[in-house]
């Protein structure tokens, strides 16, 4: 923060009043980033749609191998984490910093729980010799090969977003603790929340498309 390089940045100070603050502008920037995320996942969803029309039967067979209970549990976990995130922002807006931090802890806990469930799921698939390029999988129909290819890449990319989310939530917690994010200047947490809800949104579509086809 305080780069004492030279006096090139005179406005650089810990006095918050000196730092320009534009909440709406910040949120617009965040939304534009989220749009790139939507289109990024969108490309994969389009690939999914095309292959579903091509290999409907294979997709059903593949989907039957997935555990609806695990996927459903993870859906509930992520939705609940979205709730705690939204509540944390609401708490910060009301000036209740301890509550806000507690709710962020809960969000982190759910994020980890999601990853644990996910790793059990992937582990079970690996035990059944189902992973991209496995001899067992290549023996199956083309539809199943493509289904699992998309399953691993899309849920894997989604899980990467969850992992990244964990880091940004920890970042937000530290900034709140340091007083850099305050009830009056809370757009940083707003934006972290927007990112987290987007991760939830992607899962809302991944769940039915992969688990509920059979």
């Amino acid at each position: 923060m305080s780069t004492a390089h030279d006096a090139a940045a005179p406005a650089e100070s810990h006095d918050h009043e000196a730092v320009p603050y534009d909440a709406t502008g910040s949120r617009i920037g965040m939304w534009i980033f989220l749009f790139t995320e939507v289109l990024f996942f969108g490309g994969l969803f389009i690939a999914y749609a095309v292959y579903l029309t091509e290999y409907g039967r294979g997709f059903q067979l593949g989907s039957a191998e997935l555990d609806i209970a695990m996927g459903g549990l993870n859906t509930v976990i992520l939705l609940t984490s979205s709730l705690t995130m939204a509540l944390s922002i609401a708490a910060l807006q009301r000036g209740d910093i301890p509550l806000s931090q507690k709710l962020l802890n809960a969000t982190l806990l759910f994020a980890f729980a999601f990853l644990v469930v996910k790793s059990f799921e992937w582990g079970a698939k690996f035990e059944h010799h189902i992973y991209p390029g496995s001899a067992y999988l290549l023996d199956k129909t083309m539809g199943e090969v493509v289904f699992f290819g998309l399953y691993f890449s899309m849920t894997g990319l989604h899980a990467l977003h969850v992992i990244l989310g964990i880091f940004v939530i920890i970042w937000a917690k530290r900034r709140i603790a340091a007083g850099a994010v305050t009830p009056e200047r809370n757009v940083f947490l707003d934006n972290v929340g927007l990112y987290w809800h987007l991760v939830d949104l992607v899962w809302i579509f991944l769940f039915p498309l992969f688990y509920l086809l059979s």
Binding site: V76, T80, M85, A90, I204, F207, L212
Partner: protein
Amino acid sequence: MTSHDTEEEVHLVPYRTYVNVWLVLIVLTGVTVAASVANLKQMAIFTALLVATAKSTLVLLYFMHLRYENKLFAYMFIAVIATFAIFLGLTFADYSFRGV
């Protein structure tokens, strides 16, 4: 302390609203799972996507505040979804005439 020049109407959403939205989201998840387990055949994927769309709308409007935000945000979002729809439509237009 005087108010900031960029001070905006911060819409304080009651905690209850978020909890209610979450409850509806959980119920909707139950509905899709039930519809799938009950094996409603071809309707399953269609219903599932319809419910997923309803769930995302709730997340966008309430958790992501689009409902309380400047209208600009909603318009931008619609533009992105339209872009996605065009992308999807053109892909299928191409794919359907490949004559594989």
